[in-house]
């Protein structure tokens, strides 16, 4: 037994009767493509926009003007015909009244015949071809028309009742209306004019049916001419707009190309200045701007060259005496056992301070390279897990000395990213060193994580933490949270600044979080592929334990 689900059957039945698309799919696709291309062109081309707007506005204006002209002509033609028809029917009514004088009774047996004669006379004197004269009495039998007798039937149709009611009603007078009637030659537009004829008793009604074919042809011809003229005018206007726009857009394009070349480094590119108009002034201003830029750039290049030279010179000049002093200091340090305690101490201090000076000099040179824009990134695919472990091993002894338990968490499969390993190591060394130094003897955890787009390393300590706002300040040069704090690792105050620059050089982030008494966490996030834009980090900046504490504080689940 086969069970047929009625619902399914119904759905299928309805789906069979899905309405057909109004536009075929291929055409729809083509339209969409065309529209997309047009939109693109609209966004990119000023000339296209100007021509398009000109086309649209002129089309609307010309259409409105054309409609007004056509409507005025139509109204004028109609008014002329209406005025003429009013005079015609009033003459006709006077003639009819004179001919029907004496026929004062509606049941006069001679009246129908006389009406036919009157209608024929009036029709023969009409100067409008294909017009009809209809004479009607109060009873349906009193109806006559000329030359086409069926016109009388047409006037007795319900559609003409309103006009007839007015003509012979409480306010009898001459009335007219346009109506489409079929008197035997197909539906034709007529101007129907009617007036009563008072012969005694109930009045007769005289109607002229005047075809409006000639007027309609004229109006349609005018509309056609206006439309064709309008279309041609709009096209011409669009063409003129295109030509005019091109005159303006061309120099702008030249300016754009020149600007592009300028920005590409061809600083001697200039626009041609022709004449004294706005475009010439634009070109002149552009050229002046280019000259100023060129001068500035040359000056900056010179300054940069001087800067580099200064850095190199300073490096060399400072290093040279430093090396000599270093050698002397090393000698003294090596022979400190032979000195008296004060001299031996001085030799130790000298050695230590020379180390610091050297580090400071190195950092200064490094930061000046960043400032001058000479820092270069040597990115290469690097497994960061060993880098992290190496940094931790190197600072193990410091951690032991500070009594800080140190742990490292890395992904089991490694974390390969395109980075400059030297710089990354320096950053991590700096972060871990700071964490150990500020850890207050509490555990420090270094975590590495990676995803498809980014890698991140966090260094978490549970030391004094940072006050609100200090998470931005920590990266300032020579900033110290507590100036009285001793530098255990001999830091220069530029470490985090240099780390920040290193992170930025990679296109990455270096951020800090801290809370007083809760410690701090620093997070380095770098793109996996050099040059990619970071949008997220695989590790949270705010550590989980700190989030849990905050949630507990406000009663939320973290």
């Amino acid at each position: 037994m086969v069970r047929i689900d009625p619902i399914i059957v119904q759905v299928r039945r309805f789906s069979r009767f899905r309405p057909k698309r109004l536009i075929p799919q291929t055409a729809s696709r083509r339209l969409r493509r065309f529209y997309a291309a047009a939109r693109r062109q609209w966004r990119r081309s000023l000339q296209f926009r100007v021509v398009g707007i000109t086309l649209l506005l002129s089309a609307i204006l010309v259409s409105a003007f054309g409609f007004t002209v056509a409507a005025l002509i139509s109204e004028g033609v109609l008014n002329t015909q209406e005025k003429a028809s009013k005079e015609r029917i009033q003459r006709g009514a006077g003639q009819a009244a004179r001919q029907l004088e004496g026929y004062t009774q509606a049941d006069d047996p001679g009246l129908p015949g006389k009406m036919r004669v009157v209608a024929t006379d009036l029709a023969s004197s009409m100067d409008v071809p294909d017009s009809e004269v209809v004479l009607l009495g109060h009873s349906p039998s009193l109806a006559t028309a000329s030359p086409d007798t069926s016109a009388g039937n047409v006037m007795q149709e319900p559609s003409m009742r309103e006009l007839r009611g007015l003509v012979a009603g409480d306010r009898p007078g001459t009335y007219q209306q346009i109506a489409t009637l079929d008197v035997g030659a197909g539906p034709t537009r007529f101007l129907v004019v009617g007036t009563p004829i008072f012969t005694g008793g109930e009045p007769l009604e005289l109607y002229y049916l005047l075809p409006l074919k000639a007027e309609n042809d004229l109006v349609e011809f005018v509309a056609l001419v206006v439309t064709a003229t309008g279309v041609a005018l709009v096209a011409l206007l669009a063409l003129i707009a295109a030509i005019m726009t091109r005159l303006v857009v061309k120099p702008v394009r030249v300016a754009a190309r020149t600007a592009q070349r300028l920005s590409a480094g061809l600083l001697d590119q200039r626009m041609q200045v022709k004449g004294e108009d706005d475009l010439a002034r634009l070109a002149a201003a552009f050229n002046q701007m280019a000259a100023n830029l060129q001068r500035q750039i040359v000056r900056l290049e010179e300054m940069s060259r001087l800067q580099r030279r200064f850095t190199s010179d300073v490096s060399h000049e400072l290093r040279t005496p430093l090396t000599t002093v270093r050698m002397a200091a090393d000698l003294l340090f090596a022979s400190r056992d032979d000195f008296d305690p004060a001299a031996a101490r001085s030799a130790e201090l000298l050695q230590a301070e020379l180390d610091r000076f050297e580090d400071l000099l190195t950092d200064l040179l490094e930061i000046s390279r960043f400032d001058a824009g000479f820092a270069a990134l040597d990115a290469e695919p690097t497994d960061l897990a060993p880098v992290v472990h190496r940094v931790a091993e190197r600072l193990e002894s410091l951690a032991e000395r500070c009594g800080v338990p140190l742990s490292v968490e890395t992904p089991p499969d490694g974390a390969i990213a395109e980075v400059d390993p030297r710089r990354v190591e320096r950053v991590l060394r700096n972060l871990l060193g700071n964490a150990i130094e500020h850890g207050e003897g509490k555990p420090v955890v270094m975590t590495l994580a990676i995803d498809d787009a980014a890698m991140a390393v966090t260094v978490r300590d549970h030391g004094v933490g940072l006050k609100t706002g200090e998470e931005k300040l920590v990266f300032n040069r020579f900033w110290r949270a507590d100036p009285s704090r001793a530098r255990q690792t001999g830091g220069t105050g530029l470490g985090l600044s240099i780390s920040l620059e290193d992170a930025r050089l990679h296109g990455g982030w270096l951020e800090a979080w801290g809370a007083p008494g809760k410690g701090a966490q620093f997070r380095l996030t770098l793109p996996v592929r050099s040059g990619d834009r970071l949008v997220s980090s695989p590790l949270r900046l705010v550590p989980d334990d700190a989030r849990a504490d905050e949630a507990a504080l406000i009663g939320e689940t973290p």
Partner: protein, 627 residues
């Protein structure tokens, strides 16, 4: 709204705009102007008859006999002043003739029929002469009244002489009085009745008094003329039936006619003291008396504030209202409607013992009162009138006060001044009051002539809708007289006016309009035989002018008839003219149309009381409209 939709909307509007060009397929009816007035008010103030361009002496004389139009109108300030008319008449004359022509003031204006002889030209001279034969028709007085001409002979001849003066033909000899041809009367005067309130009734209506307005007067002057006529009073023959305008009603200045044709009549302060009802009646009386009855406002001492109480003026004329055209005839001596309705005839004309041997009859429009003239023994006729209850039996009682006569006229029911029947017995006119309720007797009394004289030889009559004017056939002549109503009695007014006409004799009469009678009788036979061009049925104004044979378009069809009975329905003066005339001639009831008369065809939507199946109906006789 996204840019795309804006663009699409703009394009759609563009397309629609273009598509909307062209004539519409249909529009609503639109008013473009008034209907053509079949009889537009004529204003010929700028177009008086002139002598220039006259092609012959006959042409010049015929124009001259028209140019005296308004010769009866004199200045209100100085009735003796030489009128513009006389000045104009002199332009037709040579200098010498004009100097000699006696332009006496107050010259009567005599209306004449004219017949011209051949023009005779003296040999070798530019002078010519023309003999014209005049037949007096009437005479105009200063108040637009056309009365009997005061002439020595009814017909006379005059010689006109003409000569060339500066290349233009001028009259060198003219009769020493003012003449107006009938053609001039027709072309240059417009019959214009003025109205006076009837007297001796509780709810008076207006009664028309026929006057003639010269068309050379401009609109405002015509209003002045009407005011002058009204304040002067009615024609003598009507004076016993109507009131005059109070002497306190004086016009302070000429009336003004506004662009909307509204007339403002300036009265003196004496009129301001009149009661509102009197002023209302005055303004409506003036409104009725003006051509086309424009709204009338009264002002006093030229004050800016005016009083407009002339609206509702239609109610003051008994002739206004739907014209009842219900027709009845006598068929096989039984009275019945011409078009028998499905429900049968009115109760009073239902088949019965008294609806037999009927010669003529009448019924009111409400079908509650009827009278029959029935055959009586010895070839006499008697009048029977309906009892109070139309359903009662018998429906009629005989009026014994009226002796059976050889021939009674068709009776008539009048509503005004008091409802009653009238009948003529070939000699006297009787007024019959039917019983008001069961058991009441019928009252019949003779309608006396003026000063209680006895009317004689009255064979037919017709009372106007106002009930104060009666047309009579007396001695086979048509007359009109006023009907007085005093102390509940009808009597004729002081003067009976003959209505002269061209028929051989007059036998039947009816009021076609307020001022026009239909008269039937025998044609005027030349040498005792009928000739082409003879007729026996005419319409004419009550002063005997404007005679036209009926039917209007083919007058000769009645040449062989002898019209013995006639019933006319009086036209509503505010509507177009209808000729509603039924008559009996040569033993056949007929109806008048535009170009023919037709035997009345009887139709039976219900059972005919007169014919049974298979029986051919006899000819209908004695047709009449419900009164």
């Amino acid at each position: 709204m996204t840019r795309l939709r804006r663009l699409t909307a703009a394009l759609a509007v563009t397309v629609l705009l273009l598509a909307g060009c062209g004539l519409p397929d249909r529009t609503d009816p639109k008013y473009v102007g008034p209907a053509v007035d079949p009889k537009p008010a004529q204003d010929r103030a700028q177009d008086p008859p002139r002598p220039d361009g006259a092609s012959s002496l006959t042409d010049l004389v015929s124009r001259y006999l028209m140019t005296s139009v308004a010769g009866n109108v004199t200045s209100t300030d100085d009735p003796n002043a030489i009128s513009e008319t006389q000045t104009r008449m002199k332009t037709f004359m040579s200098e010498q003739a004009a100097a000699q022509w006696p332009p006496r003031p107050q010259l009567p204006l005599i209306v004449v029929q004219v017949a011209y002889d051949k023009v005779e030209t003296a040999a070798g001279s530019d002078k010519s002469s023309l003999t014209a034969t005049f037949t007096a028709v009437g005479q105009f007085d200063r108040f637009g009244r056309l009365g009997e001409a005061q002439v020595e002979k009814e017909t006379w001849s005059e010689v006109f002489e003409g000569e060339l003066v500066n290349g233009q033909l001028r009259l060198s000899k003219v009769p020493p009085y003012m003449l107006l041809s009938v053609a001039g009367l027709k072309e240059w005067y417009q019959p214009q009745p003025i109205y006076f309130w009837e007297k001796d009734v509780e709810v008076p209506k207006l009664v028309p008094d026929l006057r003639y307005m010269p068309l050379v007067l401009p609109a405002s002057k015509r209003v002045s003329e009407v005011m002058r006529w009204l304040t002067t009073g009615p024609s003598l023959w009507l004076a016993t039936a109507v009131t005059t305008v109070s002497p306190d009603i004086e016009t302070k200045a000429d009336p003004t006619v506004g662009p909307d044709k509204r007339v403002t009549v300036n009265l003196s302060s004496k009129a301001a003291g009149k009661s509102p009802e009197e002023l209302r009646k005055l303004s409506r009386q003036i409104r009725w008396s003006l051509m086309d009855h424009p709204p009338v406002e009264l002002s006093f001492e030229n004050a800016k504030d005016t009083m407009n109480v002339s609206d509702g003026f239609e109610d003051d004329n008994a002739a206004v209202g739907d014209i009842d055209q219900e027709k009845f005839v006598i068929e096989n001596e039984v009275v019945r409607p011409v078009d028998m309705p499905a429900g049968g005839p009115p109760e009073l004309f239902a088949p019965g013992p008294l609806n037999t041997a009927v010669v003529s009859a009448t019924i009111d429009r409400e079908h509650t009162k009827a009278a029959l003239v029935r055959k009586a023994p010895n070839n006499k006729q008697q009048l029977w009138v309906s009892v109070a209850d139309p359903k009662a039996e018998p429906k009629y009682v005989v009026v014994n006060e009226i002796p059976a006569a050889a021939a009674l006229s068709r009776p008539a029911w009048i509503r005004r001044p008091e409802p009653r029947f009238l009948v003529a017995d070939g000699s006297r006119l009787w007024a019959v009051t039917p019983p008001a309720k069961a058991g009441d007797p019928v009252k019949a009394e003779v309608v006396p002539g003026p000063n209680e004289t006895v009317l004689t030889n009255v064979s037919a009559f017709s009372v106007a809708p106002d009930g104060r004017r009666i047309a009579l056939i007396v001695d086979n002549k048509a007359m009109v007289a006023a009907l007085r109503f005093e102390n509940g009695r009808l009597s004729l007014g002081g003067e009976q006016r003959l209505v002269a006409n061209s028929l051989g004799d007059n036998q039947a009469i009816g009021w076609m309009t307020e001022t026009t009678l239909a008269i039937g009788g025998r044609a005027n036979l030349a040498n005792g035989s009928y000739t082409a061009g003879t007729y026996s049925l005419i319409s004419t104004r009550i002063d005997g002018t404007g005679e036209m044979p009926l039917p209007l378009l083919k007058p000769n069809v009645t040449g062989g008839y002898t019209v013995t009975q006639l019933s006319a329905r009086t036209n509503d003066p505010t509507e177009s003219l209808q000729v509603l005339v039924l008559f009996e001639a040569n033993q056949t009831a007929r109806v008048v149309y535009a170009s023919e008369t037709q035997e009345i065809n009887l139709t039976n939507a219900g059972p005919s009381p007169t014919t049974s199946a298979g029986q051919q109906p006899k000819r209908a006789l004695s047709p009449f409209y419900a009164d």
